[in-house]
Amino acid sequence: MKAYVTIMPKNGVLDPQGKAIGHALAGLGFAGVGEVRAGKVIELELAETDPAKAQAAAEAMAKKLLANTVIESFKVEVR
């Protein structure tokens, strides 16, 4: 099955990339865009077939490697 790990800068942590994108969108004339935040998504193909176990495995991977939990938060979805 597939696990999707979405990693975002933690609340309150500066997101220079999101800031620059927001700026560029405004420059391109897109109105009504408020805060923009830029994150990552990692799609994992897992051999595991049990959703709960897959979820746990992906969470372990996120904690260990995929996310930098000092400045990023993550969430895992299994499909």
Partner: protein
């Protein structure tokens, strides 16, 4: 010859480029701000120098490609104007659709700042006519996203149409995997447009124009440019 250098927020090799052009033309070219919507009249060449436009955030060159000045550059190129993009400038030209393909993260996922050698695949372009056919020259690269990508069909077309101008090679001229530090398709370091008037490359020949700094291996590229426009006045 009259060249102009584009300046985007985050551009940082504009002074290097100006010095290299000054060396062959005797004059420092003007800087053109990204927010302008027209190019100065009478330009022979527009140069997009290296740097980190918009911090390289999102995708290298993506935000700069949307600048007002890039519409003018597209028109300029469409009318047969000459355009040179180096490093981030190459990335911007690609994002703006003025050159084909894409530049991905280096295969090692690391920034690569080091010497490289390039083979000049054709000398019948306005940027390479002062190189000897088949010449190999040393330059430096400094980029995180210089891994040139084109799918198989497009790569074949570029090769067939002679749009591959520069290729990473060993100092002896072999296009090996080891010479291809960033992982580019077919060791591609630089490509030109179908009319050969738009050139993009990742390395920085503008840093090899002064015997007291890092040698003059890159000088023929600038001499070519100046020679191409010598008659144009």
């Amino acid at each position: 010859m009259k060249a102009g250098i584009l300046l985007f927020p985050g551009t940082n090799r504009e002074r290097d480029m100006a010095l290299a052009l000054q060396r062959v033309t005797g004059v420092k070219p003007p800087m053109i701000w990204h927010g302008e919507s027209t190019l100065p009249a009478g330009l022979d060449l527009v140069v997009l120098p290296g740097g980190f436009s918009y911090g390289d955030y999102l995708r290298c060159g993506a935000m700069a490609a949307q600048s007002p000045i890039m519409r003018a550059v597209a028109e300029f190129a469409a009318k047969g104007g000459h355009v040179l993009g180096v490093c981030n400038g190459f990335q911007i030209l690609i994002e703006a659709g003025l050159l084909p393909g894409a530049l991905l993260k280096n295969a090692s996922l690391r920034f690569l700042s080091m010497d490289c050698h390039m083979k000049v695949e054709r000398t019948d372009t306005p940027f390479t006519n002062r190189f000897k056919p088949g010449a190999v020259f040393r330059s430096t690269m400094a980029h995180g996203d210089g891994n040139y990508f084109a799918d198989a069909a497009m790569a074949a077309r570029l090769e067939a149409e002679g749009q591959v101008v520069l290729r990473y090679v060993t100092p002896e001229g072999a296009a090996t995997e080891a010479a291809n530090r960033n992982g580019s398709v077919n060791n591609i370091a630089g490509i030109c447009s179908a009319n050969r008037r738009v050139l993009g490359l990742m390395p920085h020949p503008e840093n090899q124009v002064d015997p007291l700094i890092d040698g003059t291996d890159g000088l023929p590229l600038f001499e070519s440019i100046s020679a191409s426009f010598a008659t144009a006045g």
